[in-house]
Structure formats: C-alpha cells, structure tokens
C-alpha cells in the first residue's frame, strides 16, 4: 500500500488516542464499579468490557485508515473476534440468569 495515498499515519495515531484513552478508562473504571457487585461482578464487568472494546475497535478502525499493514489488520480482526465472543457471553449469561 506504500504507493496508495492515505491519511497521515501520525495524524490518525494522534486522533485514535481519544477512543483508546476512553476504552482504557471504561475498562479500568468498570473493574472498580463491578467489584462491589459480588457474585454478579462478572456479568457487570462484561458490560464495561464490551463498551471498552467498542472504543478500542473505533481506535483500531481509525488507525487502520492511516496505517494499512497486516499487523494493524490482525489487531482489528482480534478486537472484532473478542467483542463478538464477549457479546455472545453477555447474551448467554443474561439468558442463564433468567
């Protein structure tokens, strides 16, 4: 892709810091918010984790606009797979809880 025009890699990396910081905040803060839920902590944290992954995904997609290499592509694919698994986990968890 070196010959194709794309957005500046530095610019998109800088912009991607916003969703990245939000993701880190949601996941870290969610851990503290979920702990008091006791035995429901797992399901409570899964919600924060899913939301954090959504922000990570946004960061990955923005970075992918500037740096299209296989490493970045692998990272985005891994985030998509993880959010899918967590999404299914939340759904089945909710179903099991009634």
């Amino acid at each position: 892709m070196s010959e194709s025009p794309h957005l500046s890699s530095d610019l998109v990396t800088a912009i991607a810091l916003i969703p990245f910081a939000l993701a880190a905040f949601v996941i870290t803060f969610g851990a503290f918010r979920a702990l008091p839920a006791g035995r429901h902590a797992g399901s409570a944290y899964a919600g924060y984790l899913a939301l954090g992954l959504e922000f990570f995904l946004a960061a990955g997609l923005i970075r992918l606009a500037g740096a299209q290499d296989f490493a970045m592509l692998g990272l985005v694919a891994a985030i998509i797979a993880a959010r899918r698994v967590i999404s299914l986990g939340i759904r089945y968890g909710a179903r099991a809880a009634g």
Partner: protein, 134 residues
C-alpha cells in the same frame, strides 16, 4: 492513432490523480464520523456514570455502533477507490483482507444494532449505574 493513445493516457492520468485526491478525503470522512461517534458515546457514558442522564451501556454501544457502521461504509468506499489505482497483487490482497474484515464487522454490527433495538423496544435495558447491582 498516436493522438488517441496520448489522449487516453492523459485521461487515465487525470482520473488517477482525481482518485488519489479522493481516497484520503473519503477516508478522512469515515474517520471523522467514527471520532464523532466516539465523542457522542463517551459523553453519554460519562453523563450516565455521573447519574445526570442514566442510560444502558447497550444504548451507548448502539450509539457508537451506528457511527462505526457509517464510518466503515466510507472506509469501504475508500478501499474500493484504492483498488482502482492499486498496482500490485499484494496491495489488492491487502485491500481484499481489509474490505473483508470491514464487511464482516458491518454484518456483526448490524446484527447487534437490531438486537439492542429490539431490547430497547421491549424495555429490557437498565442504566449503566444500575447494571452491576445484579
């Protein structure tokens, strides 16, 4: 014949220049839509955490998901434009992989959006602050 060949070549160069200019523009629009979604969802999340306007985390995900889905459409458009000017098989392979991943993500996102919209209609969503109380 030579004149026709020269005219075709210059037209091809003009189209290539136009596409080269359009690719970063379309990509920037896609990235801008995603970043606007991040800001909207981030503000919604913070307002909910601060109990100013409590909403369910699924609703925040839905908000962000809609923006991401729209942003991906623009990025896919940029991929399609890039394919038109990509000179090597490696580039086209990479583009195919990127387009495939974005299409897959778009599919998953639309499925989740439908599911959350259904839950929203049924009133099954709880605000973020109340979600972890069990």
């Amino acid at each position: 014949m030579l004149v026709l060949a020269t005219a075709t070549e210059s037209l091809e160069d003009a189209v290539r220049d136009g596409v080269d200019f359009a690719i970063p523009m379309v990509e920037a629009i896609g990235a801008a839509i995603i970043i606007i979604g991040v800001l909207v969802a981030g503000i919604s999340y913070l307002l909910s955490e601060l109990r100013i306007r409590p909403i369910a985390y699924e609703h925040v995900r839905l908000q962000l998901g809609r923006f991401i889905a729209l942003g991906i459409e623009f990025q896919l458009a940029s991929d399609i434009l890039t394919t038109a000017v990509s000179p090597t098989f490696r580039d086209i392979g990479m583009l195919g992989a990127i387009a495939g991943i974005r299409t897959l993500l778009n599919y998953f996102l639309s499925q989740e959006i439908e599911r959350v919209e259904k839950l929203e209609r049924e009133g099954m969503l709880r605000p973020i602050g109340m979600a972890q109380t069990g």
